[in-house]
Amino acid sequence: MGNSVIARRLGLLAVLALCVVLLALVPYFPSYYVRVVDSILIYIILAVGLNLVVGYAGLLDLGFIAFYAVGAYAYAMLASGQFDIHLPFIVVLFIGAAAGAIAGILLGFPVLKLRGDYLAIVTLSFGEIIRIAINNADDLTNGPQGIAGLDRASLFGLPLTTPVHFYWLLLVLAIIVCAGVYYMERSILGKAWRALREDQDVVRGLGINTTTLKLLAFALSAAIGGAGGVIFGAFQRFVSPESFTFQESLLVVLIIIIGGVGNIVGVIAGAVVLVVLPEILHFAAQYRLLIYGVVLVTVIVLRPGGLVSPRFNLGFIIRKVRTLWLSPSKT
């Protein structure tokens, strides 16, 4: 075992330790920064969820935020004074995920035989319908004013009130979602989705039911969206239709594309960039959106495949770490 191997292992340890230390230090940041990190984590969860549909199965869903809205309103209606129902957070989390999945199946069932742009448009319309319905069903959702004064959440007796509490919750959930999706990606199911993305007809020719396959991707991603919505509701303690516009759906798609389609590491990078960029641009005051747009177009034109190369994915990192640790001679 040469010096270089020890050096490399130390380097690896140092990088890992740095990551852990950084993540552990976040709670000591000023509240504003913790909120930004929370926001990044929420978008990571959403984008990893949507990536199942867009990145793996190759279906463009432009109405993803509808599932997020379903989750958020599930919490708003089941844990607030709106109907005087006060269910615990963890229960609503599962209800929200289930409601999202059901909405996903309800939407997916009739429309998944459509392809490409038509599917994109139908999902877009669905997102708009949900938003307009929320905006107008005053008895249920309180219309454009939204529902305020949502319950303070708690989890197994631990309070979930400050951004720091949510940081830990979101971090754990983001890791669970990323790990889950990573294992799914490597399973036979993930391979079937990839095949679907490359050529639907071949998949169908091999005797696989493509509609079921698509429906599964749709339902899973909608469930993740719904769960994300519940956390969003509990975090903001206020929901209103304007949080769920078409632009929000596009932002999640944008995160996936900017980062690198079908790549978890890319999605994380995309979420960091697209959440942090507008925050950095606060100094530019009214020019903020303009600069944001220019940066966006420039990045896409310069790196159309996404910021992170498809080779540099979670699997690559894990392989690298494993070989360096177990059989360094091969590296």
């Binding site: 867009v54 279906l59 459509l114 038509y118 009214q286 303009l290």
Partner: protein, 316 residues
């Protein structure tokens, strides 16, 4: 009842004509490039702003007769917005051609943010009064009341649509556009300069969008930087409804959407005994779209070639 119906019909035709003009831009761009141009709504918004700027500039310089000033400003805003469209295609979409379809679509999205915020930064976010081009006087037509503005919009839009149809069907450049939408590869093999066809489409589409914007602003008397987002989305719906890629389809889709919206607003509360209010107008429009796509996936006038040839096997 009949004059109420007639009045609603004129209103539906006027707003439908505007949707149709915008939908043409979406459909032509989609036809040649298979790209959903999310920036298209912004060309619609730019139209009235550029018109107002040019018109007040002309008047400030002394100007000619007000009619001439308006005419010059209208033609010039068509050209300016059209050239802007060509430039955007050249710099923001063309470099991405080899990278699938998601990248250009998101580049379009970015351009939409850029254009909208550029206008917001220059003139401010608040709605501004739009100077009337023709004075709005009511005309009594067959018992219903029609304003000159409504009639003007309808006539101008129909003239533009007829002009476009003649251009696309009867001229060499029009044939280039149609050939390029039919098959990119075959037309380039046959010596058609596909890039020129693309530039042409990116000139005409945004130009028509700008015209629609001027009509819309003169109809409601105001303009604001965000006006393109919702209308753009609706016009896009109209393009899909008619069958995206089809030029007559976009016109039909526009008028249909206008009718659905206007008559939905007028009759939905009556038909549903007050249960469904006018606020569900847009839900109704989107629901009709979903239904049409389920039964006729290529839209009303879209080509009904088998699925495998119309859509690439690899979607995104």
């Amino acid at each position: 009842m009949f004059d109420y119906f007639l009045q609603q019909l004129i209103f539906a035709l006027a707003i439908g004509a505007i949707y149709g003009l915008i939908a043409l831009g979406y459909t032509m761009v989609y036809g040649v490039m298979r790209l959903i141009n999310f920036a298209h709504g912004e060309f619609f918004m730019l139209g009235p702003y550029i018109y107002t700027f040019l018109f007040s500039g002309l008047v400030g310089l002394g100007g000619l007769a007000p009619v001439l000033d308006s005419a010059i400003a209208i033609v010039a805003s068509f050209v300016i917005v059209g050239l802007l469209g060509v430039a955007i295609e050249r710099f923001a979409y063309r470099p991405l051609r080899a990278y699938g379809r998601l990248a250009p679509m998101l580049s379009a999205l970015g351009m939409s943010i850029v254009l909208q915020s550029a206008v917001r930064v220059t003139v401010g976010p608040q709605p501004v009064h739009f100077p009337a081009i023709v004075p709005s006087t009511p005309i009594d037509a067959l018992g219903g009341m029609v304003t000159t503005v409504q009639l003007g919009i309808l006539i101008a839009a129909v003239l533009l649509m007829v002009g476009l149809t003649l251009f696309v069907n009867g001229t060499r450049l029009g044939i280039w556009i149609r050939a390029a939408s039919e098959s990119w590869t075959t037309s380039s093999l046959l010596g058609i300069r596909v890039n020129r066809a693309v530039s042409l489409v990116f000139f005409i589409g945004p130009g028509l969008g700008a015209m629609a914007g001027i009509m819309y602003a003169s109809y409601y008397g105001i303009m604001q930087p965000t006006m393109g987002s919702v209308i753009g989305l609706k016009a896009f719906t109209a393009a899909i409804l008619g069958g995206i890629g089809s030029i007559p389809g976009a016109m039909l889709g526009g008028f249909l959407l206008g009718a659905i919206e206007v008559f939905g607003t007028a009759f939905l509360p009556i038909l549903s005994f007050g249960y469904i209010g006018t606020e569900y107008r847009d839900v109704f429009a989107f629901a009709v779209l979903i239904l049409v796509l389920l039964f006729k996936p290529a839209g009303l006038l879209g080509e009904t070639v088998s699925e495998e040839t119309t859509v690439a096997k690899k979607d995104y």
